[in-house]
């Protein structure tokens, strides 16, 4: 017996010496599978979550939505707002040991602007030229002043990729992405997992306490939560609001939520083809009445268990860009009825196109019965998302329900939807006054001036109401108690700097 104990002790001691510390492996459950892992080509939200670990950007966004340094340590706008000069961090390496310098930054931006498959072109459309003005300094020259460029560079357009790998792999870069983030790519199995491991030469490696990250796409919210509860996952994103109570009641789990920067809205076809030719598309009073007939708080309580907030603008009420002079309206059926009457109607038929997911359907059924009391006979037309998008683009809709995931700069939540030539102006609203205000807001580097322009535009839009804003969802994360250091951010990203396990 004595001998056995000794032997065991010796073996254990040996094992301890042989394996220094256990590797920390973090398993994160995502709602979808990411698409191609090339910052120039990718378009999914979950892809961006993976990039926060894989690819560093020129600038990042803080939890209070300020632009902060990442690969660029400082930057300066020229007086006319047409030149942006950035200093690049010294001593940064890509995962393939290629040094990250001004030339690499220029190569990436040019790749984003010229690669035929690039989805970043519209984000960099204001850039006329990008050049290295020193070994660690780049200058962006713009066609016209565009203060939103910084926000674009805080996302995929600003993720610097290894020029060596980009050259070797071309449009196939996503098969083995090489960036300069805290973790490097190990493997990917479609619809199953994306595995990254700690990059030992990361410029801020002392802030990284995790050795390996595995992202697992699990679309079903119940199953995703079950995996967290059973211990198979450490962290999940987009917990269903209906599951919040279960997480709160579980002593082994933690919960975090923050109102996101996107919005939920109804798009009213005001001028996109023949389907706009109806009272609802032509008479703004009817749209105003529709908005007034909605009890946004009740909808939020029922569908989102109180985790969402009501809204009437492209920015959430807690955003600095929200126009406080136009508060979220309370439900007013009498006033809605009066507006309908003033427009010369008693009852108004409206066809509402909605995506065929249960949450959207539930929400729109509630809305249907709310507005019915004011005089709207809403018929719901449920389609899956790819079709909804097509119908919306072609103008084959009267009223359509869809979401916007939100952008850090206010411009990204409004300009392209509402300006006459906006790329995703599916409602085809066109008002030169609004165009002027939004273009000026885009050109000014002074936040106070910008705020003034957005406020003025929001007054007009609240009157014309081509888009009926409903509110803003929250990002909800759930994770094990043993995870510390996670900071919830309104952009929904999972930043691993400072995150510890155990």
């Amino acid at each position: 017996m004595m001998r056995l104990t000794k032997l065991t002790t010796a073996l254990l001691a040996g094992a301890l010496f042989a394996f220094p510390a256990l590797a920390v492996d973090l398993r994160i459950g995502l709602q979808d599978d990411a698409d191609v892992l090339d910052p120039a080509q990718s378009r999914t939200f979950v892809g961006r979550i993976v990039y926060t670990a894989l690819c560093d950007k020129l600038v990042d966004v803080s939890p209070d939505l300020k632009i902060v340094p990442q690969l660029a340590t400082e930057w300066k706008w020229s007086a006319d707002g047409k030149e942006l000069t950035m200093k690049i961090r010294e001593g940064v390496k890509f995962h393939d040991d290629t040094p990250l310098d001004a030339a690499a930054v220029v190569a990436t931006i040019e790749r984003n602007m010229t690669l035929p498959e690039s989805r970043r072109k519209s984000e960099l459309t204001s850039v006329a030229k990008v050049e290295a003005t020193g070994p660690l300094e780049v200058k962006f020259t713009l066609k016209s002043p565009d203060v939103t460029l910084l926000a674009q560079l805080s996302d995929r357009a600003g993720m610097i990729v290894s020029p060596t790998a980009a050259k070797a792999l071309g449009a196939n870069f996503g098969s083995k992405p090489v960036c300069a983030g805290p973790f490097k790519f190990v493997e990917r199995v479609q619809q199953d997992r994306i595995v990254l491991e700690k990059f030992k030469d990361y410029w801020a490696k002392d802030k990284i306490f995790v050795d390996k990250v595995t992202y697992l796409p699990i679309p079903d919210t119940t199953v995703r939560l079950a995996n967290l509860q059973s211990g198979d996952l450490d962290f999940i994103e987009r917990l269903a609001p209906t599951d919040v109570a279960a997480v709160k009641g579980n002593s082994g789990l933690k919960y975090d939520a923050t109102v996101n920067i996107g919005y939920m809205a109804l798009y009213a076809n005001v001028a996109n083809g023949a389907r706009a030719d109806n009272p609802f598309g032509k008479d703004k009073r009817l749209r105003q009445a529709f908005s007034l007939a909605i009890d946004r708080d009740a909808m939020n309580q029922i569908v989102y268990e109180g985790t969402a907030v009501g809204g009437n603008q492209p920015f959430p009420p807690n955003s600095p860009w929200f126009n406080k002079a136009i508060p979220v309206p309370a439900r007013d059926v009498a006033k809605a009825k009066a507006l309908i009457k003033a427009a010369g109607f008693d009852r108004v038929p409206v066809e509402l196109q909605i995506p065929n997911n249960p949450v959207a359907q539930q929400m729109m059924q509630i809305l249907q019965s709310m507005v019915a009391e004011a005089g709207f006979d809403v018929s719901l037309k449920s389609t899956e998302f790819a079709t909804l998008l097509e119908e919306q683009t072609r103008g084959n809709f009267q009223l359509s329900r869809s979401d916007w995931s939100g952008r850090v700069d206010p411009d990204g939540n409004i300009h392209q939807f509402i300006t006459c030539k906006g790329g995703i102006n599916d409602v085809k609203y066109c008002n030169p006054d609004v165009d002027k205000l939004l273009n000026e807001a885009r050109a000014s580097t002074d936040d106070a001036v910008r705020k003034q322009k957005y406020d003025a535009a929001s007054v007009i839009l609240n009157e014309d109401m081509p888009v009926i804003y409903l509110g803003h969802q929250s990002w909800i994360w759930a994770y094990k108690k043993s995870i510390t250091g996670f900071v919830a951010s309104p952009d929904g990203m999972i930043r691993l700097q400072g995150v510890k396990k155990g």
Partner: protein, 315 residues
């Protein structure tokens, strides 16, 4: 026999062609534009035009079809619109996963269905038979997705015995692979077990009332010998055929099961591909499934002949 198999394979070619034309046209009839979804939230017109061109979506549908067919004949199934991966690579990656799931599910189905079927036949119209029938009916009626979620909540969350979802290749970590597959295979096999049980029962009842069984009993064979050696062997005939054909149902069931248990197999591949209008992937997966069906049918027919000497003369 080889001539017979060869003939059957030749007949399969037009079948496959018709299936591929059918699926191709059906997909084109679907509303929804894949490129719009792929172009990203901003929907840049230049990107949209480039992608349409790259994936030949501007060509007439007939041209697109023949282009695809030409590719398939040279082993090129096209490229996934969504992930840029070659379709063939995706199929080869996912197929073994679903085959493993299907084989394990079939194992469960047989393990449950055949013994209970025999028992129910032997104890016909007794309490045991009724219980077995109720069980079978329950198995058939419980939806896959509901049973799956309930098992996850019970076995994984409450008891912590098995992982809630996920997948590991059997070649990388066999233990973990079996652990992750047990629940989905059981869920998938459960409904089939019911079908198998019903068929085994009726086949056995038919055989048990045959004259030669009475003779076997009369000459003093033990009930065990009568049931297993004499009756079951003959009753096996329709059961084996059915099992081979049930593989088709397995594939259909795998679509739901893989979705719930997040298994990166064929079923999940096709669901995601349909939702994303990933034409090349849908096309490739359907073609592969069709081949699978044809092969399983062929195997069923061959087995039938092998098990039943009387049919050999007809070849």
């Amino acid at each position: 026999m080889p001539v017979y198999i060869g003939k059957r394979l030749l007949v399969a070619i037009p079948t496959l062609l018709i299936i591929s034309i059918f699926v191709f046209s059906l997909q084109k009839l679907l509303p929804g534009d894949p490129i719009l979804a792929m172009a990203g939230e901003e929907r840049d017109p230049a990107v949209i035009e480039f992608l349409r061109d790259k994936y030949r979506l501007n060509d007439p549908v007939v041209v697109q079809y023949f282009y695809w067919l030409g590719g398939v004949l040279t082993g090129d199934f096209g490229i996934s619109l969504r992930t840029n991966q070659p379709v063939l690579e995706l199929i080869l990656q996912k197929l073994p996963v679903t085959i493993q799931l299907a084989v394990m599910a079939m194992f469960f189905a047989m393990l449950i269905g055949i013994p209970i079927g025999i028992l129910a036949a032997v104890k016909k119209n007794t309490f045991i038979d009724y219980i077995a029938n109720v069980l079978a009916l329950t198995g058939l009626s419980i939806p896959n997705f509901w049973l799956g979620i309930m098992l996850i909540l019970l076995i994984s969350v409450q008891l912590g015995w098995l992982p809630a979802s996920g997948f590991e290749s059997i070649f990388v970590d066999p233990v973990r692979s079996l652990q992750t597959m047990v629940m989905p295979a059981f869920v998938l096999g459960n409904a089939l077990a019911a079908t198998l049980m019903r068929h085994t029962r009726s086949a056995m009842i038919g055989v048990l009332s045959a004259d030669y069984i009475r003779t076997a009993r009369a000459k003093g064979l033990s009930p065990r010998e009568v049931i297993l050696s004499h009756s079951f062997r003959n009753a096996l005939l329709p059961v084996v055929t059915l099992s081979a054909l049930l593989f088709g149902e397995l594939l259909a069931g795998a679509v739901l099961t893989e979705q719930i248990f997040t298994i990166p197999g064929f079923g999940k591949l096709i669901v995601d591909a349909v939702f994303n209008r990933d034409y090349a992937v849908v096309q490739g997966v359907v073609l592969c499934t069709a081949v699978g069906f044809i092969v399983m049918n062929l195997i069923a027919d061959v087995l039938y002949v092998l098990l039943n000497p009387r049919l050999r003369a007809t070849l």
